[in-house]
Symmetry: C3
Subunit: 208 residues, 3 copies
């Protein structure tokens, strides 16, 4: 069951990667590569930090979700102008599943709860960050109009807290992931946001 | 001999990095760093995934090709406006050599043929991807006008297939690399390409 | 004391990340993430290459400097239009401390002086490179108007040279770091630079 949840996360992130590839006019192989990088990237970063050979390279099942994601987008993607919303929804689902599974894997590998929370957040935001960086889009984690890392931080912290209290199992993982998903989607819909990097007293005209 | 082929791949990728540095107006130290990142980057990613200390950090010979590449570009580069074609040719040569050597190294490290093929592709496209990402160019692997990852996938798959059948040796490695190089260059010349990420029935006006 | 110097480097790089986040209009969580990536990123790359679990994930102290950096920028940052100079100064301080500590850690891990110098440079420029790449800014190491990697290379080389001669200790580390910092700042002020990637005889109109 944990494997299944992880593969599902890879699939969701994979779809978001294939949708961005579609939006950018990449070809179907570029779509497969971006789906793979998005889906597997966060887990690779996580496993590399844990000094383990990445699961995706040990277990060939991990290659199926990106292929399915690419085909799904090829055959049933909406028109190019309407790709942004589904991209964000699939990305939110990947984020939710990875922040919980990443935290659990880090705890199982012997990390302290604090570092495990951070690694959970890293594996959750890592895939999407790699996707956006290689496709030359400003990463979603830096978009000040909604919450992206905050739900992942809450989810990873909650997961680590439950683990410390001895509460474990995939049902809890799924429950926490659902909370993260709902928070992320609500923040998109209602434009929840946090303050800017500089206090309001200092903001002069915006520079980029 | 395998070491020599690997160093040759580092050199070819290094020249592509130095040429991109020239095109972007970087200085000679930036050229050296980009040549090094391009030449050694794919191998570092490969070795990090294999949980090994990167060869380039163990064997000082690996620093010579990027230095030679930087000097070559400094002294004999064509005018800045004519850098794109040589960049692509040298990049193709690096791609060809790295997809075969990366696959072999992964197989030697005990990976299954499927994962080894993927790691071969990763080390082949990794250096060029890092080069393009840090120099803020849309990565070649996502250019829909020709084939980039496809020849590398074919080469890595072929190499893994030969290895499974017990056929080994640097002559075969060189032969497969030559096929990859020729395929890549022909795809550039004749604009061979694969379908877009979204099926043709859905493509409305292009967005970026 | 070495830990304190390392944490100070994380703080300086963290401030540079938070300042770039401010300049780009990111929110305070994006500021924290960019401060963390910049401060800890170079060390993570260093430790991953050394095949060790990154220090920052073992030692929770490493999370304090990015938090302090984010708060400092939030409360006392100058107006957005005047962020570039402090960004470069804090970045220079991080660069100086990391090129010395990275070299020492690589030597302590058993690398040869040459590879240790390279890893010192990698960990010094890595954090800033990650910062600039994810925030979509041309990396400082490629700016041809001043010297960025050169002071780090000199510092790392000097540190390795002292180590080979048996001269060790944090006083020396701090002395070398000071030299690197001064060199970097002087190169900014007086626009010291090295030749372009292509010899002057070949430079036609500039392309990007």
């Amino acid at each position: 069951m944990p494997l299944l949840l992880d593969l599902l996360g890879v699939f969701f992130f994979g779809v978001s990667g294939a949708l961005l590839a579609a939006r950018r006019g990449f070809d179907i192989i570029g779509s497969l590569l971006l789906a793979g990088l998005t889906g597997i990237g966060g887990g690779i970063v996580r496993d590399v930090i844990l000094s383990e050979i990445p699961t995706a390279f040990v277990n060939p099942y991990y290659f199926i979700p990106p292929i399915l994601a690419t085909l799904l987008v090829f055959f049933v993607a909406p028109g190019v102008q309407r790709l942004m919303r589904p991209l964000l929804i699939f990305d939110a689902a990947g984020l939710a599943l990875f922040c919980t599974s990443g935290t659990i894997m880090a705890l199982d590998a012997g990390m302290n709860p604090f570092a495990a929370t951070l690694l959970g957040v890293t594996s959750a935001v890592g895939g999407g960050l790699l996707r956006d960086v290689v496709a030359n889009k400003t990463p979603s984690i830096f978009d000040p109009r909604d919450l992206y890392a905050v739900p992942a931080m809450l989810g990873a912290g909650l997961m680590a807290g439950l683990w410390v209290m001895g509460v474990q199992g995939w049902v809890w993982e799924l429950a926490v992931a659902s909370v993260v998903f709902v928070l992320r989607v609500l923040s998109l819909k209602f434009r929840w946001h946090v303050p800017k990097a500089v206090g309001p007293w200092h903001q002069d005209t915006e520079l980029r």
